[in-house]
């Protein structure tokens, strides 16, 4: 390992910003010419994304296995590219404190840097990678995609010691992630089957990605409470346990079930929106699909909170829009109602009946969720 320098700034003014990381891009193209190669920017973005997932692992380790991280956790890693140092190409990343806060000397994100380098170090001995890190290893397939033969990235740990990441390292990690893996997880969905004779349940995941099964054990009551005449008429549940995943990250089965929570509408909406906020930019494919904005997410949660859903209609499914917003929808045989919170937090409410002529809509500026809620209550009234 090689020290690459960089100290935490000590005075009060600097506590708003911290010299966080220097990624060294070296070899090949990076050793010649001036300026920052454009490919570097994409790698920095992926670096941040992986680091965020690793910080969640740190949080879970340090909080007795809690699966959910606190609200706003991901926003705590605000990285700014403040300089490019000479000698290969070294983007210098400062970490900026959230508004009104100061950075603590070391937190989950600093310790996540150590996990990052630990994974790279273990690329040739993947059995050394702890099981809770295996869920993050597939993300390395996106890191270093721009590297050519002879090029490498020096990735620092929290002590600014650097490990080398190159095409071979990446290939070994991709290979390592090609196996099914097991990890602690919390999955959200509906109980699509509950078999008392076999002692088993089946969970249809809310994102439609899989239907893992498992033994319900001591959680019969919770599962039974969530079952409806059909899965879609049942109540959503959040099941935490130790899960086996396919190499592609699809949940296959619960090896253990630690807890089962039956969710009410508000909890469901909150969890669904938080889940959608994890969608990376480009989630639609072909570089389309903006990440869900904080303003859109907050606006929708505020609106749902104001709606007396049980009184007016069934709880809505909530979907991401390609423009960084989210949309709640109520679909009936001859009526379709939707409300979209845009990336700036404004709303667009819409309903259409049998024909185009029956449509009605309302633009609602940001901060006026009550107006959108009133409109929706009227629009949904006849359907309830």
């Amino acid at each position: 390992m090689t020290a690459v320098g960089g100290d935490v700034r000590q005075n009060e003014a600097m506590a708003m910003a911290q010299d966080f990381a220097r990624l060294r891009f070296a070899g090949g193209r990076f050793d010649h010419g001036t300026g920052l190669h454009a490919d570097v920017l994409e790698e920095v973005t992926t670096y941040k994304r992986i680091l965020t997932e690793l910080a969640k692992v740190v949080f879970r380790r340090e909080n007795s296995g809690r699966v959910r991280v606190p609200k706003g956790f991901e926003d705590r890693l605000d990285l700014r590219l403040v300089d490019v140092e000479a000698g290969s190409q070294i983007p210098v990343l400062d970490r900026i404190a959230a508004s009104g806060e100061l950075l603590v000397p070391e937190d989950e994100y600093d310790r996540a840097q150590d996990l990052f380098t630990q994974i790279i170090d273990a690329a040739f001995t993947p059995t050394d990678i702890p099981r809770d890190l295996m869920a993050v290893v597939p993300m390395f397939s996106k890191f270093g995609t721009s590297l050519r033969a002879g090029e490498w990235i020096g990735v620092p740990n929290s002590r600014n010691d650097e490990v080398r990441y190159d095409r071979t390292t990446r290939a070994r990690l991709i290979e390592a992630s090609g196996e099914p893996y097991r990890a602690d997880a919390e999955l959200l969905g509906w109980v699509s089957d509950l078999n008392a004779q076999a002692g088993r349940f089946e969970l249809r995941l809310a994102d439609g990605s899989a239907t893992p099964t498992g033994e319900y054990g001591r959680h019969w009551n919770e599962f039974h409470r969530a079952v409806g005449p059909t899965p879609e008429e049942g109540r959503r549940v959040r099941v935490a346990g130790y899960v086996e995943f396919s190499a592609r990250g699809e949940a296959r089965k619960f090896l253990t079930v630690d807890s089962v929570a039956v969710l009410d509408t508000w909890e469901w909406a909150t969890e669904r929106i938080e889940e959608l906020q994890t969608l990376p930019p480009g989630w639609l494919g072909n570089d389309a699909g903006a990440a869900i904005s904080l303003e859109a997410a907050t606006a929708m949660m505020t609106l749902i909170d104001r709606l007396e859903l049980d009184a007016v209609a069934k709880p809505p499914p909530i979907f991401p829009t390609g423009e960084g917003g989210v949309q709640a929808e109520w679909v009936f045989p001859v009526l379709t109602v939707s409300v979209e919170s845009d990336s700036d937090g404004s709303f667009f409410c819409h309903r259409v009946g049998r024909t185009l002529d029956s449509a009605d809509s309302l633009d609602v500026p940001a901060g006026h969720a009550a107006d959108a809620a009133d409109w929706l209550a009227k629009a949904l009234g006849p359907a309830s």
């Binding site: 509906w190 249809r204 809310a206 994102d207 439609g208 990605s209 899965p231 879609e232 669904r272 959608l276 969608l279 989630w283 639609l284 494919g285 072909n286 389309a288 699909g289 499914p317 909530i318 979907f319 991401p320 829009t321 390609g322 423009e323 949309q327 929808e329 679909v331 379709t336 939707s338 667009f348 819409h350 259409v352 024909t355 185009l356 449509a359 809509s361």
Partner: protein, 143 residues
């Protein structure tokens, strides 16, 4: 309000067989449960330039359309289908552009360009009604 249709390009052909099926792929994030598919499946996104991508049923089955989509590296949970007649009933048209440069196999599009760009309500109304037609038909292919 809808405006006049734009002229078609040289290699684009208007689809006129009202019974022709138009297969549309549903992205995984646009489905919460089997029967809760977002109406956004039928709303053009920024990739589409108001040309909603579909595959022609006269050339590909719903399953083949799903497979062809996947071969382009795009995700789908299954195929939903409307007809040329249903598109026409909403004041739009379906256009075969499979002969244009770089067009995927059997590609066509539902032409939303006739909807004024500013008229978000009408875009959503049309998407909602296409969605209703498709749901009445059910999934035409689920892997």
């Amino acid at each position: 309000m809808t405006a006049a249709f734009l002229p078609l390009d040289e290699l684009e052909v208007l689809l006129t067989d009202n019974a022709e099926l138009l297969h549309r792929q549903a992205h995984p994030t646009h489905l919460e449960q089997d029967d809760q598919v977002s109406i956004m499946v039928f709303r053009p996104d920024q990739r589409d330039e108001r040309k909603l991508s579909v595959r022609q049923g006269s050339q590909l089955t719903a399953e083949q359309a799903y497979n062809a989509h996947g071969e382009e590296g795009l995700e789908s949970l299954g195929t939903l289908t409307v007809t040329v007649a249903e598109v026409g009933s909403l004041g739009l048209r379906a256009v075969d552009d499979s002969a244009t440069d770089g067009a995927p196999e059997a590609h066509a599009f539902v032409d939303f360009r006739a909807v004024e760009h500013r008229d978000r309500a009408e875009m959503k109304s049309i998407a909602g009604l296409l969605h209703r037609h498709a749901l009445a038909r059910g999934w035409t292919y689920r892997p």
